[in-house]
Amino acid sequence: MAERRFSFFTRGQCIVLALLAATPLLDLAFPSIQLSGPMRTVVVYAILALGLNVVVGWTGLLNLGIAAFMAIGAYAFGILTAEVYPFQVGFWWALLLSGAIGAFAGWLLGAPTLRLRGDYLAIVTLGFGEIVQDGLKNLQAITKGTEGINPLPKPTVPFGAAIQSGLEIVGIASAPAATKAAEGVVAASSNWFEISSATPARWFYLYLILLAVVIFFCRNLEFSRLGRQWFAVREDELAARCMAIEPDKAKLKAFAAGAALAAIAGALFASHLASTGEPANYDFQVSILALCIVIVGGIGSITGVVLGAIVMVGLSNVVLPALTQAMQRAGIGSTENVLSSPDNYKYLIFGLALVLMMRFRPDGIVHTRKAVKK
């Protein structure tokens, strides 16, 4: 990878991004569905899973508590932006800072635990996840317990106002009619760069751009010196040590990088909900969903992980609830009969996904990428 300083997106990454970018078009075609809102969670989980992928996929460490870092990011974002706290640093600073706080938390957990064997490390991370969740629930003075911190700000487009006024001077963006064409069904305000719940498509695109930035970051991390160290540690710690790689340091960096991405996902999630929500939003099930995304999508592959997020989160957060509602409206399913509600199959789907992937790609976690030979 010496010929270029940065590598941009691969063909696969372009395809998944284009696929995601096309979803608001579905809103145009079927105004009754409105996918842009729920699809934001897909983007959030994609970022979360990319963080987990750094740890599980590239470094070969099983982290079962990634949701804890998501929670830390969400609550950091909440505390940094909510009106009840003195900071109120705004969306972008809070996003960056929560990433940094997440990295610090990852470093804090990783420093004493990373020398543990693989399966013990997995259990420690699981325990950490439960401790964080219970801690957030119990420290009501700071976290507002199960109420969550709210309201939280929506994202703003940086320099959006300036660009808007610039466009107005040039005379492109004066008429609200122009935005109508760009936005489809939602008759938005005349400001092109204002994001609100009335403009789900813009909000979605902003998140999508952030996802693209994260993908760009991961892509360039992957074959950097550090990324190659991670692969070496994953394949054979002893051999890596012989190559003058310090496995503990490399692992710690992976842990911190994964935690930072998870925290950013948490911050975006909190902004998406306009609240941190209750601590149970970041429970073990979320960690497992992230793990399913990474494993189903293809461990170690950025494109695969994003695709996995589209499939798994799309299924569990978009398709199943929609199906449940539709069936109830049609009078087929009922809340009385547990089997007839598609939403109740979530655990089964997660579980089967994990079991089948492990069964038929048993080398899953450790040996996946042929690309390492580059």
């Binding site: 399966d119 325990g127 439960e130 089997l339 979530k346 079991v355 048993p362």
Partner: protein, 325 residues
Amino acid sequence: MTETEVFLQQVIYGLSNGMIIALVALGYTMVYGIVELINFAHGDVFTLGGFLALTVVGALGAAAILDPNTLSDSSHWLLLVGLVVTAGLFCGFLNVAIDKVVYKPLRRAPKLTQLVAAIGVSFILVNIALFWGGAPMEVFGGGNAAAASKDFPEILEGSNLLGEDSNVVLRLEDLAIFVITIPLMIGLTLFVNRTRLGRGMRATAQNPIAARLMGINTDRVIAATFLIGGFLGGAASVMWAIYNNTISFQMGFRAGMDAFTAAVLGGIGSLPGAMIGGVLIGLIRAMSDQYIETRWTNVVVFGVLILILVFRPSGLLGLKQREKV
């Protein structure tokens, strides 16, 4: 209540819960000792044992053969032992089946692959418990919703064995737990130490390849391990249900984590370690409930788990082992 009485009461709670945790912990530690797998699904096998017991109780009650409320004294105990055996066998064979279908093909795969598969099984079992709880049966009190906790009927009469005047309460349930768990543990110890199959288990735990060379049918040993571990888990689930009088589809996660912590605390792979660890975790929980706060108890338990893993991964009774390269 005086300070001492409060303390004694917590000791009773702690011991009773600890014995239940120890039974579950034995299932973790035996399986880990033999195949080096953290059987993440064990806690959920335990859950299904509770659901089976409730279904059996309900079926008997509904058929008016054995109404739990009108039983004579000895038949209470008969019912209890019957439930322990039924749920135990069910969980034992379920555990064996899971091993055959899921874990066995992965026996030579990396440990993390096996662990992820076990987590997958755990989620599948949780979903099965959810469906089971939603079954349209009259027996499930406590709300019709599938996810709601189900009431488990009082099988043993709840008068204070220490006399009505005593502030410290020792219920028949507490006694039942000891009467049932202690023989099980003694039986297990004798089995592992005195029988041919038990010797095979110890040999397989030490070195599976050498054990096979010595003519030990390791597949049978492993199946027996899963069977016994599952049986103890099923027995524990019945004890848990009669002690707490409620079961839910997610109870296995918490119980499983307590039990795993107990197994690690005692030294994973060690049978006496799991028993001692279980009792210790039970006592820690009870003391934390009383002297810290109930809502922090889980944090305390997970804190213990992490500290043990970081500072003494071999546990209290485990041997120091170097990881093979």
